[in-house]
């Protein structure tokens, strides 16, 4: 593999890892607060649709982004209503939200645009276009570092940089702020938070809304950054890969970045090489596609470092009697 190809694959990795990373961090906030969220997929999908639709209507990617976040947060609130307010089963709520998003997006898209469940292609300002970082052209002639800067680091849409910045930001919020302390505590032992005089419901709703916002950005990136419009089921399992990455990262922000980059790399390789030849053995693309899932099962099985989820995760908080 020559150097330019490598740069290209890494470039592609970064693009493909972005939605995973945003969704993964979204899941991190929710699950660290004790709300399991298997509806990352559905929220991303709803956000992708809303951002694609509103960007197409308004011609502005930013309005699309706002709409995407709005749609995703709505579903988050539904999840919160079911699993926090009414103490329902978080997994069942997640399943329902995934289906709701899959159905509603197509239904509404068909009603609005009559294009078989897709939105019109986005043009111009309807999409987030690549940003050229300062001096990218000037520096590109420097060997090795030049192309890395000008091609790999520069030239992504703003949401890619947002996603990357979210990693240290998440880490900081989680481990260096009052909110983060409380958030982690509510995912470990909500009773401790409750008796300390902090509202468990409020904290968990806050976490779920942050999750919605990040999923919204992820979905908007899919429809208005990575692609140019919404097509039905366009998330194509990314929400579940993000979930896998979250487990892989053991609910830690920096490891989430690494896991998403790894899974992004797998996708980039699977995209580029239909049948990857490794030491004479042809690896079918299906294997590359399913590798994130297989790796997650292996991690879950505890063969490669055990993943212990937040202790209060998945359980609705009921004051004991």
């Amino acid at each position: 593999m020559d150097f330019p190809t490598l740069i290209q694959i890494l470039d592609s990795t970064l693009r493909l890892a972005t939605p995973l990373l945003l969704a993964c961090l979204a899941g991190l906030f929710s699950e660290r607060a004790g709300i399991f969220d298997i509806a990352l997929e559905g929220k991303m999908l709803a956000a992708a649709f809303a951002s694609g639709a509103f960007a197409a209507i308004s011609g502005s990617a930013w309005i699309g982004l706002a709409a995407g976040i709005g749609a995703s947060v709505m579903l988050s609130l539904l999840h919160g209503l079911a699993s926090i307010t009414f103490r329902g089963n978080q997994l069942i709520s997640g399943v329902a939200i995934n289906f709701l998003a899959a159905g509603l997006t197509v239904l509404v898209a068909q009603h609005w645009f009559q294009q078989g469940g897709r939105t019109p292609s986005l043009l111009g300002d309807g999409r987030f276009s690549p940003i050229k970082l300062p001096l990218a052209d000037t520096l590109s002639r420097i060997p090795v570092l030049g192309p890395i800067y000008s091609e790999l680091i520069s030239g992504h849409s703003i949401l890619v940089y947002v996603a990357i910045i979210c990693v240290p930001a998440t880490w900081y919020v989680l481990f260096r702020t009052r909110f983060g302390l409380r958030l982690r505590a509510v995912g470990e032992n909500p009773a401790a938070v409750d008796t300390a005089g902090i509202s468990v419901v409020g904290l968990r709703f806050a976490a779920v809304v942050i999750c919605g916002v990040l999923c919204g950005v992820a979905g908007a990136y899919l429809a208005t950054g990575l692609q140019a419009g919404f097509v039905k089921d366009m998330t194509a399992g990314r929400g579940f890969i993000a979930l896998a990455a979250l487990i892989f990262a053991k609910w830690r922000p920096w490891f989430a970045l690494y896991a998403c980059l790894l899974f992004g790399l797998l996708q980039a390789l699977a995209l580029r090489y239909q049948n990857l030849d490794i030491a004479g053995i042809a690896v079918p693309v299906q294997l590359m596609d399913t590798l994130p899932y297989i790796l997650t099962v292996v991690i879950l099985a505890g063969f490669v470092g055990r993943a212990v989820p937040p202790r209060a995760g998945g359980e609705p908080y009921v004051k004991e009697r």
Partner: protein, 362 residues
């Protein structure tokens, strides 16, 4: 402390939840500029208004009975088997392999063999998540989700490279021998001299599905194993105290669950498509969740809920054939049913409990 009579718990609450789900669905139909009344009429006409309609309604019902029972059995052991989809598609692989590569003298024998193949492959696909849950504490919901994707990849590979007949453009296996065709409602009625629709919709597997309901009922409420599964599902610690092995129950319950999901393939793969195609499950594995939730994990409830979803599915298909309402409407209805009967159960239950409490006091 029980505040509600049992009938309210098993009938009233699900019905109210269902009503809410359908009411919101009607609002969705209104919102996309269609007439819900007309839509319902079309759905009724298309699903139960003709022998053909019934044929497909019962065909889908058959699928949902299998996947609904699959989810139910796992629910009884407090295992949320979200992998019915993957298990059913692996079941399809099992059915196809049995029918493609082994000779069978008669469709009855072939059906029996296919049932074994489908159930075995479905069960196998449930075995690994079950074992990982029981032995390594991996969360079964996550592993079964992952296994759905892995199943899709595996099937994709098999159909793209291994099972696809040379020269075919379709990622599908060859057709099974015509001698394995299952008797359909149509062929039975025709034999009786009644002119019926010609199609491969509902077939003898519907009867097998009904039998499965009975057997699951017997299993859960009349056998030691069922007793142990339910005990384990209600309290793992108590089960362990009684000497019921969590590993054994987890594995067996998931094997039964996966086997039931895999059995669905005799209806879709052997009965309808008569070959293995991609996505032969058509989401039935997920609908099983809604069916089990609505049916309160009881075979009678599952049967009724499966009928309801069979009706919704066939009616929805008709709707998308003759109107511009996409079939995704059914996905929305399904989502709402899961939401109200599953996740928002307390929202419906709490006011009713309060009502009964007030009645008792008053």
């Amino acid at each position: 402390m029980t505040v509600m009579p049992k009938w309210a718990d098993v009938i009233l609450v699900p019905l109210i939840s269902l009503f809410l789900a359908l009411a919101i669905s009607a609002l969705v139909i209104l919102a996309i500029g269609e007439d819900p009344v007309e839509a319902v009429q079309l759905m009724i006409e298309g699903s139960v208004g003709s022998i053909r309609g019934w044929g497909y309604t019962l065909y889908y019902t058959t699928n949902f009975i299998f996947t609904g029972l699959a989810v139910s059995v796992a629910f009884h052991a407090r295992l949320f088997n979200i992998g019915g989809e993957g298990q059913a598609s692996l079941g399809g692989l099992g059915v196809a392999l049995v029918l493609l590569f082994l000779p069978w003298p008669h469709w009855t024998v072939a059906l029996f063999a296919a049932m074994l193949g489908g159930a075995a492959f479905g069960a196998l696909w449930a075995l690994i998540p079950a074992w990982l849950q029981a032995k390594r504490g991996s969360h079964i919901v996550i592993t079964t989700i992952m296994f759905n994707f892995i199943a899709a990849g595996l099937l994709n590979y098999m159909l793209s490279y291994t099972l696809k007949p040379a020269g075919s453009g379709d990622p599908a296996s060859a057709k099974f021998s015509p001698s394995y065709d299952l008797p359909t409602l149509n062929s039975i009625l025709t034999d009786l001299g009644i002119q019926a629709a010609r199609d491969d919709s509902v077939n003898v597997t519907f009867l097998i599905a009904l039998l499965a309901c009975v057997l699951v009922w017997v299993l859960m409420w009349r056998t030691r194993l069922g007793y142990e599964i339910r005990a384990f599902g209600h309290s793992e610690t108590a089960a362990k105290y009684a000497g019921i092995s969590p590993l054994k129950i987890t594995v067996i319950a998931m094997l039964i669950s996966g086997g039931l999901a895999g059995l669905m393939a005799i209806n879709t793969v052997m009965g309808e498509a008569e070959r293995l195609v991609l996505n032969s499950t058509g989401g039935a594995g997920f609908i099983g969740i809604a069916v089990a939730l609505m049916g309160r994990s009881h075979p009678i409830g599952v049967l009724l809920a499966a009928l309801l979803f069979g009706f919704l599915y066939q009616g929805g298909a008709e709707l998308s054939l003759w109107t511009s309402i996409p079939a995704q409407l059914i996905v929305v209805v399904q989502a709402l049913v899961i939401l109200f009967t599953g996740a928002l159960d307390n929202m419906v239950r709490m006011p009713i409990e309060r009502m009964f409490l007030a009645m008792r006091r008053g």
